[in-house]
């Protein structure tokens, strides 16, 4: 299967504007960054979380803790997926009584978010869990809603949203297209 892009919906400048806005929204909603922690969902969510944390650090003068979460061991669809290498989870700070913002690139069915919340709870009991995503493409299968959305992109089930980031793909952009075999 290969991804064939139909349109670029978000470019690099858009992404940096979006992340700045999301950073401000997080601070506004939580009245500052004192007990805030960001946890990115592997792979691209981790880099988004780091960038947002950097922006918050510039605004507030102090950077919140950032962690990385691999949710493959918590997925409810293990049996139907190809076993891929499991990434390392790094949460080397206490999450008890903190506000933890989960960060992911695309929100789709909600199943990854569900797995991420389960994983997170094994590390302690956060006061609140919030969700920030770069793109919400709809088609939820679980009662999950993002607190911070970069951009809503209505899609059909056949379509794919592809997020590219500087750190992993060499360029910042979001494309919409289809998988073709």
């Amino acid at each position: 299967m290969v991804f064939v892009a139909r349109a670029k919906i978000i470019d690099a400048d858009d992404i940096s504007r979006i992340l700045k806005r999301v950073a401000h929204e997080i601070l506004e909603k939580n009245r500052g960054s004192s007990d805030l922690a960001l946890v990115g969902i592997r792979t691209r969510g981790v880099f988004l979380a780091r960038r947002i944390a950097g922006i918050i650090g510039e605004i507030e003068g102090a950077k919140p803790d950032v962690g990385a979460l691999d949710v493959s061991l918590y997925r409810d669809d293990v049996a139907s997926r190809k076993a891929s290498p499991v990434g390392v989870t790094e949460i080397d700070f206490d999450i008890n009584d903190r506000v933890v913002v989960l960060v992911d690139d695309v929100l789709y069915t909600g199943r990854t978010t569900r797995a991420a919340m389960d994983a997170l709870i094994d590390f302690g009991r956060p006061r609140k869990i919030q969700l920030a995503v770069l793109v919400d493409r709809g088609h939820r299968e679980l009662p999950i809603r993002a607190d911070y959305v970069g951009k809503n992109i209505p899609t059909s089930g056949r379509e794919r949203v592809k997020v590219s980031l500087e750190e992993t793909d060499g360029v910042d952009m979001v494309e919409i297209g289809e998988e073709r075999s």
């Binding site: 691999d70 061991l73 049996a79 997926r81 190809k82 290498p85 990434g87 094994d122 590390f123």
Partner: protein, 327 residues
């Protein structure tokens, strides 16, 4: 078995009914059948699983609903515990089958025992057996995954994986690493699996033992051999000591434990003379005062207990690879 090349003209045998590739259970029977990529992938994945064991809740739901049978026909506390912990940390259900009081000691065949266990609907059997090849045999009778936890003098693949994991974490690399394995190579499945695994990832292996403790034509496995531990100590990055057993004396493999210690033991004198100390490893349990002096054992203890911790992570990686997700 396959006919030799000259006989492979067309028909290769009576058609055996086999399930399609995708649905066939996968096994870990030996290091011999793994590629270097397989080994590196398992070691990478083990690193992620090592983190799980450090969490406040040391359990992930990855194998929830899977049932694993620990079938230890030959006694072993450490490996069995390690597999059990690995399975439980992945949320699998684990049942133990041990021969004391079981029907195997009443003359039931391995085949019937295996069929019985499988009839109960399990996803994997972890087998430790005193007969080489028993895990491979088991795959013919069961429709679930089989994991070799040590078979006779043949192989102990997860031990080799955890040893490589430890070397890699401690020394940062495997390729080009110089590993000396000391002791009763002939009777050691740990040595066989380590030799094969180290070869595959590009490490160099030197076996240190009197000829009477080496298997026939072992050089053809791609190792060098020396009779001198002092030569090995000057050369190696890793010194891997094997457990020596007293019963080998009665088999005339070496004259006495005292003689063994003098010739092949990691004595305090040998250890203190070394300017550059190698990483000392041991599959456990150590014979203090025989293959390793007690003082030296205390000094290298952290590495050896590290091996034990690595064992759980590596076995989680193996169980997850075989049972988690389809291929």
């Amino acid at each position: 078995m396959n006919p030799p090349e000259i006989l492979k003209s067309g028909v290769s045998g009576p058609a055996k009914v086999q399930s399609p590739e995708a649905n066939r259970p996968r096994h870990l029977l030996s290091i011999a059948e793994l590629s270097s990529d397989d080994i590196i992938r398992l070691l990478d994945s083990a690193r992620s699983f090592a983190e799980v064991s450090k969490r406040p809740v040391k359990k992930v739901p990855a194998l929830r609903g899977k049932t694993i049978v620990n079938m230890f026909i030959e006694p072993s506390t450490r490996t069995r515990m390690s597999f059990e912990l690995a399975a439980k940390r992945l949320s699998a259900d684990v049942v133990s089958f041990t021969p004391s009081g079981s029907s195997l000691s009443k003359g039931e065949s391995l085949k019937d025992t295996a069929k019985t266990i499988v009839a109960m609907g399990v996803d994997a059997v972890v087998i430790r057996h005193s007969s080489a090849g028993a895990p491979k045999l088991l795959t013919e009778w069961v429709d679930c995954s089989v994991i070799n936890a040590g078979d006779g003098m043949h192989e102990h693949p997860t031990q080799a994986l955890l040893d490589l994991f430890t070397m890699r974490e401690r020394l940062g690399r495997l390729e080009g690493l110089k590993v000396a394995i000391v002791g009763d190579i002939d009777h050691s499945r740990v040595a066989r699996s380590n030799i094969l695994a180290l070869n595959k990832v590009g490490a160099r292996v030197l076996l240190v033992a009197p000829r009477s403790l080496l298997p026939d034509r072992v050089e053809e496995m791609g190792v060098e051999v020396t009779g001198s531990i002092d030569e090995a100590l000057r050369w190696c990055d890793v010194l891997y000591l094997l457990r020596i057993q007293l019963e080998r004396v009665s088999e005339s493999r070496f004259p006495s434990l005292r003689e063994y210690t003098l010739q092949y033991g990691l004595t305090q004198t040998r250890w203190s003379r070394l300017k550059r100390k190698p990483l000392v490893m041991h599959p456990g349990p150590m014979n203090r005062g025989v293959e390793i002096a007690s003082v030296v054992a205390d000094e290298v203890e952290p590495v050896i207990t590290g091996q034990v911790a690595a064992g759980v992570a590596v076995r989680m990686a193996v169980l997850y690879e075989l049972l988690g997700g389809s291929t």
